[in-house]
Amino acid sequence: MDWQSEGYIIAVRPHGESSAIIDVLTPDYGRHAGLVRGGRSRRKRAVIEIGNKVQVQWRARLSEHLGNFIIEPIESHAACLMNDRISLSGLNALCAMAKTVLPERQIFPQVYAAFDILMQNFEDKNIWPALYIRWEMGVLAALGYGLDLSACAATGETQNLTHVSPRSGKAVSEDAAQPYLDKLFPLPSFMIGGRDLSPQDIDNGLRLTGYFLETRVQWGINQTLPDARAVMIDRLMADRRAE
């Protein structure tokens, strides 16, 4: 068995004294693990960091085997983000989420495409939190739990959608939402194509996707969302308070 692809390193764990087992998110083979011989050597250590884009060649005798990766760097994102604590927390959350919620060896080209766009914009803190939320929306859709934000669940209205039902995952219009405001999630306008983006929208978006990822995806396998996601939310809120 032998294939080549590009991908992002999303997890690294040491194996033995000098090797590492890494998870790579690829467009053609999904989240795929493999052994990098000498992955902790001085020469390769800088490449084997989460967030780095690499060209990988995977080889194994049988497809079920862990297999070996041969890796060449394409883009070094980790080093660029290390100085920025907010972006670094976002990178940690993104990689931890990808590792936790995406099943291994399942192909999700759109999830990879959104991941790629997010990685290219991580240095712009005005953009990446919204892209991160869109990525989580894409993950929900790819896993079969997509939110239906096209029309109101109660009235069928397609305009003035302001909330989301936690039960059905469908949008609710402003009028229909009035009796249930304490039970519904606010729907940020940027998630349905709006151009406005406030810090409150980011909070609401993260709460919305976090709820559905936790209850629909993680609870089924008796797990919660990774701590790194909560750390990222804390950092974003602390940054806003500082401003």
């Binding site: 764990r13 004294e17 960091e49 070094s76 980790a78 080093a79 660029c80 990178l91 959350a93 701590d227």
Partner: protein
């Protein structure tokens, strides 16, 4: 199954030596043979040294360094500046700093780094005692000498978050071109970090 070539006692010695970093079964066998050949001149002093180390080595309650005394000789040294603390990941990093001989303050050894993916949390590290030292002592500076890795810098940012409200100055080691390094052989990330943090010359 490979037939046993030596007695159970020697096989046990080989299997224990093979657990050490840098030694596999083959090199452990060679080391065992060498020890047995030099029983009086090597094996006996090594056994004694290991027994002494086993009895006396302990972790310093103040900084987390390992030493035969508690507090360790660095925490007790009168010539060192107690108002500067250098935070390192492991004892190996502390030894590396000491080999360089460039730092004359005191240390704090965390015992690892936070890791979102491997589930290492602040409670798993020697971090709370660092915050206690920052609060209790009159410090001028905390130097974060963490590895230039995602986990190392995540840990550094976490410590900064927790102590930046205090008056202490927080610094970290520079990232960039190593001494003797040639640009042609450096990875993109290191060159970018070096360029972003360039200094007046």
């Amino acid at each position: 199954m490979t037939p046993k070539t030596a007695s159970p006692e020697i096989e046990r010695l080989i299997s224990l030596l093979a657990k050490l970093p840098g030694l596999g079964p083959r090199s452990a066998r060679r080391a065992s043979l060498e020890l047995i050949k030099k029983k009086d001149s090597l094996m006996a002093p090594l056994t004694e040294a290991m027994a002494v180390a086993m009895r006396s080595v302990t972790a310093c309650e103040q900084c987390g360094n390992i030493d035969t005394q508690n507090p360790c000789h660095i925490c007790e040294a009168p010539g060192r500046d107690p108002s500067i603390i250098c935070v390192v990941q492991d004892v190996g990093d502390l030894w590396a700093m000491e080999r360089a001989g460039a730092f004359r303050g005191r240390y704090h050894v965390l015992g690892g780094t936070l890791s979102a993916l491997n589930g290492v949390r602040p409670d798993d590290l020697n971090i709370s005692s660092l915050f206690a030292r920052v609060e209790a002592q009159e410090l001028k500076e905390v130097i974060l000498a963490m590895n230039a890795t995602v986990d190392g810098q995540t840990t550094a940012h976490y410590i900064t978050d927790k102590i930046e409200a205090s008056a202490v100055k927080i610094t970290r080691l520079a990232h960039g071109v190593p001494v003797g390094g040639e640009l042609d052989y450096l990875d993109d990330g290191t060159i970018t970090a070096a360029l972003n943090r360039r200094t007046p010359f």
